[in-house]
Every structure is written in C-alpha cells, then in structure tokens.
C-alpha cells in the first residue's frame, strides 16, 4: 500500500480559517511542520488531543482536526496531564508560546518534565507577547525593546533547552522555522518519544519583536535563524560560541513514563498492598 501524499486539508478545519496570525508570522510554519509530522507518523486523528493555553501560538489547537482543548493562560500542561493520565492511549501535544510556557506556565513546565509524563510540548519561541501587543517575555533577554521595556529590558532570559534538561525532560530538541523539515523531524521524534518531550522552535514575530528591535521584516528574521544557528557540535562554534545550537539535546529512554508507572501502582493497589 502506498502512503497517501500529504494534503494539509486532511488535517485542518477549513471552516475556522483564515487564521488570526499576522502576515510574516512564523507560527504557520510550525503548524505545517506539526501536520506533516503527524502525517508521516501515520497517526489517527482521533488519537490526538492538542491542548493549548492562551496567546497567538495557542490558536493552533482550533485549526487542526484533532480533539482540541484551548484552555487558560499558562495552564495547558496541567489540562493535558489530566487528559493523558486519564486516557494514556491518547497522544498529547501541547503547542505553547514562550510567555505561556515559561512565565505564567513555568511551574507546570518543570513539573511535567519532572514527572516524565508522555506529552509533547512545542515551545514556539518568538521572544515576545504577541497577542497583547509586544510586551517582553522571559525569553526576550536583556537589552531588548518592548512596549513594557521602552528603555530596554533588564530581565535575563531562560534557555528553554537548559531549563527542560535540568527539570528532567527526557527528550529535548530545538529548531527554527527557517529549518522547516528539521522542525518536522524533531516534532516527529518528540511525539514518538515515550515521556515528556520538549521541542523549542524559534519563530519570528516581525510585527512586534522584529519592528521594536529593528530586526527587519519576516524574511530577514528568518534568514537570521539561518546565520545565527548551527547543528549541535558544529565546528562553527569554535569561532563563534554564541551561535544557537539546533538538534536533539536529550533523548533518554531509561526513565519510566508517568502513566506506565501509575499503571503499576494500580496493579499493586488492586492486590490490596497499600
């Protein structure tokens, strides 16, 4: 049997388009990569629950033809934890913005990683709060301009990869929307991984971040992802250690997955051993 060619119309809800994203926004590329990843994995749409919080990125959940849960700001991972633990046969995917995931949602992020519950968190990092009009996020970094930092930010930024690693995520990867195929491949790996997986994707917000920080238009911002990033361990790092690395940073299959571990608790409890 030959595999059907990818047709995005098989995976979206056309009724709900056009989408809300600005021209030049990188989020559509993430959506495309996600849908291609799901297609290539051959997943049944009925076995996927996509859960999101609030923000531009979170609107992805409404556009895809999966079970979709658009929740409250920052808390998507907790809702997804309820979905996954109550029905582990479902695939749980959580697209998140950087503020959603790591400011208001930071607690849930580290605890989902610690538990190693089988959820794929896709952190769409555009380094800004887009939906509310361009306030700095915990990923903006210092020395940036934002509507709430008219004189420039003094807040340092998180490194999503390092944070996920230290919180115990068992799969951690990073890519950018310039590298759409790599994005798709890393999302595939994240979804296939049994345990908590984090895929950070750098995605441009030309409307707010780009304009405020004079980083050019969408094309220039995407080109910067080409020039400012390298594959993990690239020789280019010797000359320029500030280049952002892309690829798989952690892939650990030795840690028990949370729902499977709980199944063992049920076995024990049913035998009457408290």
């Amino acid at each position: 049997m030959t595999k059907q060619a990818f047709n995005f119309k098989d995976y979206i809800r056309p009724r709900f388009f056009p989408h809300i994203w600005c021209p030049g926004c990188g989020h559509g590329i993430v959506l495309g990569s996600l849908l291609r990843a799901v297609h290539e994995l051959g997943l049944n749409k009925n076995e996927i629950v996509i859960t999101s919080g609030i923000g531009c990125s979170s609107r992805i959940s409404g556009y895809v033809d999966f079970h979709s849960l658009h929740t409250i700001h920052g808390r998507a991972l907790s809702f997804a934890t309820g979905v996954k633990l109550s029905k582990p046969s479902l695939k749980a995917i959580v697209p998140m913005g950087d503020g959603d995931a790591l400011a208001i949602g930071g607690n849930h992020f580290i605890h989902a990683a610690r538990r190693n519950i089988d959820i794929t968190a896709i952190v769409m990092n555009n380094r800004i709060y887009g939906m509310t009009g361009g306030q700095f996020s915990p990923l903006s970094g210092s020395g940036k301009k934002a509507t709430t930092a008219p004189y420039s930010t003094i807040d340092r930024s998180f490194d999503v990869v390092e944070l996920a690693k230290s919180a115990g995520a068992t799969f951690v990867a990073r890519s950018t929307v310039y590298h759409a195929n790599e994005c798709k491949d890393l999302i595939k790996k994240g979804i296939s991984h049994k345990g908590f997986s984090v895929v950070e994707i750098l995605t441009q917000c030309p409307t707010y971040y780009g304009r405020k920080n004079k980083e050019g238009d969408a094309i220039q911002m995407m080109e910067s992802y080409k020039t400012n990033t390298v594959k993990i361990g690239s020789k280019k790092l010797e000359k320029n250690p500030n280049l952002i690395q892309r690829g798989v940073f952690v892939e650990n299959t030795d840690i028990p997955e949370y729902c499977e571990a709980y199944d063992k608790i049920i076995e024990t409890a049913m035998k009457g051993k408290a």
Binding site: N46, G62, H70, S78, T81, G82, S86, H108, I266, M270
Partner: protein
C-alpha cells in the same frame, strides 16, 4: 437489613470520599491543604484500588486543570481544597463553567481571608463560591451538617455536574471535615447515580458539542471517541469554535445562567425541623445547623414555637422556597459563621426583611446553641 460492614466511624472528609466512590469517581487531582487534605489522602489509596487515577499536582491551579482534562476523556472527576486553594482555582473553575465541563470541587472552609485560621472553622467562602470567578455565570453549591448527608450531597454533586454539565462545589467546613461520627454506606441503587449523557450522533455525521437539545441538555463526546471538536474558554458557537458575534455571546451567556437558575427547584435541597407552626425560624447550614437544631429542640421542650430550615443547596439560592417557609414567622434568625453572607440572601428573599436577624460567630470557634439563644432571647424581649 443493613450490612454491618457498611457502618463506619469516620471524618466528614472520609464521608465525602465514600460518597465520591459511590457516585463513580474515576479521577482526582489535588494539592495538600488544611483542612481538606484527608480527602486526597484517602482517594490516593482508594482510587487505584478500583482502577481509577489519582495525581498530586504541583499546585491548586494545576489540580483544577487536570480534572477538567480528565473529565473530557469521559471520567467523573473531583478535586478538594480550602480557602486559599479555592481562590487559586477560580480562573479554571470559570473555564469549566464556560466550556461546560462536569466536575466536582470540595471546599472545606477554614477561617479567612488569606492564610487566615487554617485549623479552625468558618463559613466565609459562601459568597466566593458564588462570585469567585470573574464574569456572569451560574454555579451550584451544596453543603451538609452531618456525615450521612455529606455522603448524600457528594453523590448529588456528581449527579448534578453530569446533568447540568457544570462545576459543582461541595462546601464543607472544618468542623464537618474533621469531626468523626457514624456513617452508613448505602447499598448500590439506594441513591440514584447519574451517568454521563453521551451523544447518539453516529460517526461521519456532524456532531455539534454546544448545540443544546430541546430539553436544554448537551450530550457529550469523549476525547478519543469518533467526534473531534474544539473546547475553549472564549465565547464559542455550536462547534465550540471562538466567536464574538453579539448574538452568539448573549445566547451562550443566557444559556449558562438559565440552565441552572431555571432549575432551582430541581437543584434546591433542604431539610426542615418543626416548621409547621414555627413563629421563630432558624435558617442555617453546615456545622452551624447542628447548633441551630440543638437549640430548637431544647426550646421546643419549653413550649417555644421554633423550627429550623437547614439549607443544603446554597447556590442557586432557593429564594422562593425561603420566602414561602418564612411567610408566617415572627422572626427569622440566620445562623452562620461569617459576617453575614446567607443572611443577605434571606433578607432579599423574604417579605419582611426587618424581621431577619443574624446569629453569627467569626472567631474560629463553632457557634454554640447558647450563642443563638442569646439573640433569640433579645428578639423575644426577654433580655440576655
């Protein structure tokens, strides 16, 4: 004949757990907080024994999120907390109102505001239950004054959550939660248990998750089943997709309020003691009602025509019922442990609000029959 194994000597928090098990709870998520913690402790043992799931979350907000997620996969769900935790849950509770997700939240009240008086009793969260989350909405809140009733209203809470697709709050207090007394676990079938209403729409036919049937009910479809749909906290259309069309917004808001307020007679539960000829009526609920009943019994023995109306449904407030019951009374005394939260509702409900008085106690101690008697004697013109 009662099975002796069904007789227990338990805390109110355990009675709540037993009620939840009887109602068919599948999933619990919580965070430790006094004086509700025993609910989660007991469910941590009990749920996996029946193949259910228990999870201790990283905070109160996450617990509320987790039960909503678990409800959507087709489970009966619950969380438990007390004042500070209940404050934290409010945004997600409003989400459950808006997205119409069945769930049960037990709030075992302690003294507030803030950290307050964690190990002492209070009934200060009555209004928070009603208006804690932002925006217009309706809510169901049930309470009880003894463990047999705690069991019963817990089953009712799960039933109402399914019937009305709404969060239901079980509003206990520290005395009820921690006090031990007898509980007889009813046999299966003694109390009706309402199961989730699932859609009969077949695979391949459009399922509208938010299109009410003629009777106003919304059959659900589990996440993972054949129908894929969107759930959101934004105002939404019959597909569950965000929509801010003024007609859609107003119709949805009216639906959310009407489905509960229009069924106040179905939802309203209360008990009455010696009301038929009562000149003095004590209105109370939760542990305060124990003192009210005690005093009324004591005064009846002395020939005073006094009775008690014990409210078990606090929200939606049964104003019509309260008005009718109080229509012949010389005086109505609301007995509660707060600065006067239910008394305001009673004054709004009755024909003669000037005859409504408050007997309260707010110092963390259980209000006593003597506390109520003092006020009663003043009203009777007998002095203290």
């Amino acid at each position: 004949m009662k099975n002796k194994n069904n007789i227990r000597f338990v805390q109110g928090n355990e009675a709540c757990v037993e009620g939840a098990i009887y109602a068919g709870i599948d999933f619990f998520a919580g965070y430790p907080i006094t004086p509700s913690t025993e609910i989660m402790e007991h469910l941590a043992t009990r749920l996996p024994q029946k193949g259910g799931k228990f999870i201790q979350m990283e905070d109160e907000i996450a617990s509320m999120g987790a039960i909503i997620g678990a409800s959507l996969t087709g489970n009966k769900v619950m969380t438990a907390t007390s004042g500070p935790g209940f404050s934290l849950k409010q945004e997600a509770l409003g989400y459950a109102c808006m997205a119409e997700i069945p769930c049960v939240i037990a709030n075992v009240q302690r003294g507030g505001p803030s950290t307050g008086n964690p190990t002492h009793v209070s009934q200060g969260d009555v209004n928070q239950v009603r208006w804690g989350t932002h925006g217009d909405h309706a809510i169901i809140a049930l309470t009880a004054s003894n463990h047999q009733d705690v069991f019963k209203i817990t089953v009712d809470a799960f039933n109402m959550a399914e019937t009305y697709r709404t969060p239901v709050v079980i509003l206990l207090d520290e005395v009820i939660g921690h006090m031990r007394e007898k509980l007889v676990i009813p046999e299966p079938g003694e109390i009706p248990v309402v199961e989730r209403l699932r859609t009969s729409v077949k695979k391949g036919v459009d399922y509208h998750p938010y299109l009410p049937r003629e009777d106003g009910r919304l059959p659900m479809s589990d996440f993972g089943a054949e129908h894929k749909y969107n759930v959101t906290g934004l105002f939404h259309d019959m597909w569950g997709f965000p929509n801010n069309d003024p007609k859609v917004v107003s119709e949805l808001l009216r639906h959310l309020v009407d489905k509960i307020e229009n069924n106040v007679h179905e939802i309203s539960m209360y008990k009455e003691y010696w009301l038929d000829d009562a000149e003095f009526i004590l209105i109370s609920y939760g542990s305060s009602a124990r003192s009210a009943i005690h005093l009324a019994k004591n005064r009846r023995a002395r020939g005073i025509k006094i009775g008690v109306l014990e409210l078990q449904t606090l929200w939606p407030f049964p104003a019509e019922m309260v008005r009718e019951k109080c229509s012949g009374a010389k005086a109505v005394i609301v007995v509660e442990m707060n600065m006067g939260q239910v008394v305001t509702q009673v004054k709004n409900a009755v024909d003669n609000p000037r005859n409504v008085f408050l007997a309260n106690r707010i110092d963390g101690e259980l209000i006593s029959p003597t506390d109520i008697k003092t006020l009663l004697r003043m009203i009777q013109g007998k002095g203290v």
